[in-house]
């Protein structure tokens, strides 16, 4: 069980949860108003994710995969239902509260890498630590870049790196802050199959080393197969 003590700055609603539940949702739903009426993107999602679990969310385009992880990561707010992370209802937090929660508990890996183009590889990896005020940011970032095989590329900017290298920087950035939960949105989607396979290996190795709960969205059946559990979404509902 992850027992990070975080101060989210506001009164937390304590949700009763078993010891090893890191994420729990209840009746989670997301809908938007359109000109043709209400569009339900997600409906009645009840989900429990245990600490250290690796989960693949699969489904067709438009099935609500990205919306689900954006809700779970606190990037967006649901229209109905609750989400608790480590027993604390993030649905009751304001945006800054969720930001603090993300900084403490959550790491991300994106399909399009999302590195800051102006910063070097090491500076990109240092970012989450610097935002946390960590004094050893540089040393930790250098160490982790070494771990992902980019020790020689520390001062290169994203433009000077290949796609695979950029995603390795992104992996280093995701793990450097020791997140409890890692969200990965199509992490190999922009890479060729060979490079994608290497990145997948690295992702699972790091996940194992850091005991992180991994939640990834993918179209890639082989990637999904490496996760302990697969959740399939269809038209906004879990099958």
């Amino acid at each position: 069980m992850i027992t990070k003590n975080i101060n989210l700055g506001i009164m937390q609603t304590q949700v009763k949860h078993p010891e090893n539940h890191v994420i729990a949702t209840k009746n989670l739903g997301k809908s938007v108003e359109t000109s043709e009426g209400k569009l339900h993107i997600l409906s009645s999602i009840d989900l429990i994710i245990k600490s250290g679990e690796s989960i693949a969310i699969i489904g067709e385009s438009g099935s609500g995969k990205s919306t689900l992880i954006s809700l779970l990561a606190g990037l967006d707010t649901p229209s109905s239902g609750t989400i608790a992370i480590n027993g604390k209802a993030i649905t009751a937090m304001d945006e800054d509260g969720r930001a603090a929660m993300r900084n403490e508990l959550i790491g991300f890996v994106f399909q399009s890498f999302q590195l800051l183009p102006g910063l070097t590889a090491v500076e990109n990896v240092m970012l989450p630590l610097e935002l946390r005020g960590d004094k050893d940011a540089k040393a930790k970032a250098v160490a982790l870049l070494g771990r992902v095989g980019l020790a020689q590329r520390l001062t290169h900017t994203p433009k000077q790196l290949s796609g695979g290298e950029q995603q390795r920087v992104a992996l280093a950035r995701a793990f450097v802050a020791q997140p409890a939960i890692l969200f990965a949105d199509e992490p190999t989607g922009n890479l060729d199959s060979k490079t994608g396979a290497k990145i997948t290996d690295l992702l699972f190795e790091l996940n194992l080393e850091h005991h992180t709960t991994l939640i990834l969205v993918t179209h890639d059946a082989s990637l999904a197969a490496r996760c302990q559990r697969t959740l399939q979404l269809d038209a906004g509902r879990l099958l």
Binding site: S66, A73, L75, A99, F108, G118, P128, E130, L131, A137
Partner: protein, 827 residues
């Protein structure tokens, strides 16, 4: 600290990758131009003040009929003011059986404290500039005296009982004023010889002028210290009090320069707002990532705010340095046209530029920056999510507040600030709505247009609000230029009209009535066009409605000075030209006992129509009823009178006549024959004063011209900022069109159409706005007549189209040159 380091690092990387170039350039130009203008205006104003001080030959003068207490001079010394003294009196000179009434001036060694004297030694010699008067034992004379008294250089002239050697011919004297002592030709001697002339005896009619020079603060202190110690016969003179016609010219010029500077700041501000908006939009993704990684909203604000603060400090410092160089260069280029001694730059002007830089950055860049705070972290997954635009109140409110403070700071006039802001805002609002409506009409016409026109016009109507802002921004640039041009031309014309080339430059006083016919004939024979002859009776205003005037007037007011001395009283049947009735009615029939009073004097003395005024003329007294109040312009250099009586009222008193005429330099010698034939007359030569005023005007015009170039430079930054603000989407669209087979020429023509139409509409708007502002300024503030300028309506829109079209097309050249494949791949 690590967050600040992060901010610095982001700033450094952004600036290296060119992200900040436009913003930085706009800010540097804003600071450079405002610093340069502040410094330039400051130095020019100081120089002009110093030049104006030349009219007094000092910064401050105490005029007194007798020497002032030594304690006053000690106080001046304590305040580190330099001092000098002149003593003026009239004396009859007799040489070779010829007699001439001359105005003698004995000067101390420090004279003149400001300005210089000019002398020659032969007729054709070049004038020599001297910064001190004649040595003891020598005398400098006006050339007329030599002719009149049959003397030449090197001869001896006896002044009173002292024989002095004539060493130079005096051609220019800075403080020669149009009062009694300037009427007769000048004799300049050293103070050391004064006693030996034995002219100045107790009770003699002598004027002492104690002159002081020093820094403004010390002068102010001295002036405040002096005022309570002055007795009624003593006066303090400085440029604003003693020469109202120059004071108002300077005030007007200062205001105009200030307004031009604000235009430059406003235009640069628009450029900064556009560049900051682009910067902000290009940082949405990075901000979303930072938010995703756990950055709070306040931290985002701090992160970018601290970057902008560093940017502002650096750009302001650089801009100040460049501004200093720019004005130094400007003065270097103008060195032949400006006086030899240009006042030094003052550090406060540099500081002002620095503060302006930060204020403009705050006012114009903060709203787009605040948008970053609202970037959703979800944007990392969904790029189309953009934060809501900043509130219009915030965007415009801040900018208006900053500009308002600046306008007020420059004009120091709430009424003028209100007028400028009010009219400007109203015009922007009305024009904004009009342009929006026009764009909607264009949008409807789209389907019927040819492809190149459709693409061009589509560029304008796609984002109507952005197009409206761009057009208003370009319009502002053009307005600044049109206003500078129109107001400058008008302002100078106005002054020139006041002082036409053949403005009377000589006044003749004390013409005995019997001589009037003969004198008029003499002028006609010499082909000299004279003005009307005005009868003059010297009298003093003593009572208003039976209350002594001394009890009514305030110290140092115009009213005080008017009651301190004898006034020239005249009478006429007709209201003189350039006089305007403001209250009461002009007398139609011969009604005795009426008087017309000049408006400002009436205000100072609280004189109303129907009041009874009592005058003393010689030993007699005279009463008259105020029939009307007249406004007139003192800066026309024509005979003007405080008091004009109805015909017959002054018949009982001895009068002389006054006239004025224009005399060219070649005709100057005629003055001698006039003076000889009519020994009683007094000739006042005002051409030297006119020349000084014209020189001042020429320099003002020059300064204003240069301010125009700064407005132009700021205009360029707006143009580029606007073009670059939309460059990303233009490049993308261009790539799509080219991929679909559009030729470069089609894109090129559509760009010409888009920017040409943008410039054309902006030009029309600019003329409309500048006409509105000019109308408001002229009729409400400057009290001048307004005439619409039809030629502006024809020229400015064309200039707008060509100017905006050319620069716009150059700015978007990347749309044609970037590889479509690369653009589309980079997304």
């Amino acid at each position: 600290m690590s967050r600040f380091n992060l901010a610095l690092r982001l700033l450094w990387r952004d600036s290296r990758s060119g992200e900040l170039t436009i913003l930085l350039a706009a800010l540097i130009i804003a600071v450079t131009s405002s610093t340069a203008i502040a410094l330039f205006s400051d130095r020019l104003q100081r120089t002009m003040n110093e030049q104006t001080a030349e009219f007094l030959a000092a910064d401050l003068v105490v005029a007194s009929p007798r020497p002032v207490p030594t304690e006053w001079l000690a106080k001046a010394m304590e305040l580190q003011l330099a001092s000098a003294r002149t003593v003026e009196f009239s004396s009859v000179l007799i040489e070779h059986d010829e007699m001439l009434l001359a105005s003698v001036k004995a000067v101390s060694s420090g004279y003149p404290l400001r300005g210089h004297l000019k002398t020659v030694t032969t007729d054709f010699a070049q004038e020599t500039v001297s910064y001190q008067g004649p040595d003891a034992g020598t005398v400098w004379l006006e050339k007329r005296i030599l002719a009149a008294l049959k003397l030449k250089l090197g001869d001896t002239l006896t002044v009173g009982e002292k024989a002095l050697t004539i060493s130079r011919i005096l051609t220019y004297e800075p403080d020669k004023q149009g009062d009694f002592f300037s009427f007769s030709p000048r004799v300049l001697i050293h103070e050391a010889d004064l006693q030996a002339t034995r002219i100045v005896q107790p009770g003699s009619h002598v004027h002492y002028f104690f002159q002081f020079k020093g820094d403004a603060v010390a002068l102010d202190t001295f002036k405040s210290w002096l005022k309570p110690r002055l007795n009624p016969s003593q006066r303090v003179l400085d440029i604003h009090e003693d020469r109202p016609e120059l004071g108002s010219a300077l005030t007007r010029a200062e205001r105009y320069m200030g307004l031009s500077s604000i235009m430059v700041v406003l235009i640069a501000g628009v450029a900064i707002a556009m560049a900051a908006r682009r910067y902000s939009e290009r940082h949405f993704n990075a901000t979303a990532l930072l938010r995703c990684l756990g950055c709070k909203q306040q931290e985002i604000l701090w992160l970018y705010g601290s970057q902008f603060l560093v940017l502002g400090l650096a750009a302001s410092a650089l801009g100040c340095a460049l501004g200093w160089l720019a004005q130094a260069g400007l003065f270097y280029v103008l060195r032949d046209l400006l006086p030899p001694h240009v006042a030094a730059a003052h550090i406060s002007a540099v500081w002002f530029g620095f503060v302006i830089g930060l204020a403009v950055l705050l006012g114009f860049a903060l709203p787009p920056l605040l948008r970053l705070k609202h970037v959703s972290p979800l944007r990392v997954l969904r790029r189309e999510l953009a934060p809501l635009p900043s509130s219009a109140w915030l965007v415009y409110g801040l900018a208006i507040a900053i500009i308002g403070v600046l306008v007020w700071n420059y004009t120091d006039d709430l009424k003028l600030t209100g007028t400028i802001l009010g009219v400007g805002l109203l015009a922007l609002l009305v024009l904004g709505v009009l342009v929006y409506a026009l764009l909607q009409v264009l949008r409807r016409a789209l389907p019927s247009l040819r492809l190149s026109w459709r693409l061009g016009v589509q560029g304008l109507v796609r984002d109507s609000r952005a197009s409206v802002s761009q057009m208003l921004a370009f319009s502002l640039t053009l307005v600044a230029m049109v206003l500078s041009f129109a107001v400058r031309t008008e302002l100078v014309d106005n002054w020139q009209q006041q002082l036409p080339d053949n403005a009377p430059n000589h006044f003749v006083l004390n013409i005995v009535p019997d001589q009037q016919v003969a004198f008029k004939q003499e002028l006609q024979q010499q082909h000299i066009a004279g003005s009307a002859f005005f009868p003059v009776v010297r009298g003093r205003l003593v009572e208003i409605n039976q209350t002594p005037v001394q009890k009514i007037v305030s110290k140092d007011s115009q009213g005080e000075r008017a009651t301190q001395r004898e006034l020239s009283l005249t009478w006429t049947q007709q209201l003189p030209d350039e006089n305007k009735l403001v209250a009461g009615a002009w007398w139609q029939t011969a009604q005795k006992g009426l008087v017309s009073v000049e408006q400002k004097l009436a205000e100072n003395l609280n004189i109303k129509v129907g009041d009874r005024l009592r005058f003393t003329v010689g030993s007699e007294q005279l009463e008259a009823t105020v029939a009307n109040i007249r406004a007139l312009r003192w800066d026309t250099m024509k005979p003007n009178f405080y008091m004009i009586f109805s015909p017959g009222t002054l018949d009982a008193y001895p009068s002389t006549l006054l006239t004025s005429f224009y005399l060219s330099k070649d005709q100057k010698i005629l003055l001698n024959s006039l003076a000889k034939r009519y020994p009683s007359i007094t000739i006042l030569e005002v051409d030297a004063i006119l020349l000084q005023i014209k020189t001042l005007l020429a320099q003002l015009t020059l300064a204003i011209n240069y301010l125009l170039y700064f407005a132009l430079m700021a205009g360029f930054t707006v143009l580029f900022a606007a073009v670059y603000a939309s460059l990303d989407s233009r490049i993308y669209e261009g790539a799509v069109l080219r991929t679909l087979g559009a030729k470069r020429s089609l894109l090129n023509v559509s760009h010409i159409i888009e920017f040409g139409v943008l410039g054309l509409i902006s030009g029309v708007l600019a003329v409309a706005m500048s006409e509105a502002i000019t109308y408001a300024l002229y009729t409400r503030v400057m009290n001048m007549a307004f005439h619409p300028s039809f030629y502006l309506w024809a020229i400015v829109p064309v200039i707008g189209a060509v100017f905006v079209g050319a620069v716009g097309c150059w700015g978007v050249r990347d749309v044609l040159n970037k590889s479509p494949l690369r653009v589309l791949r980079d997304g």
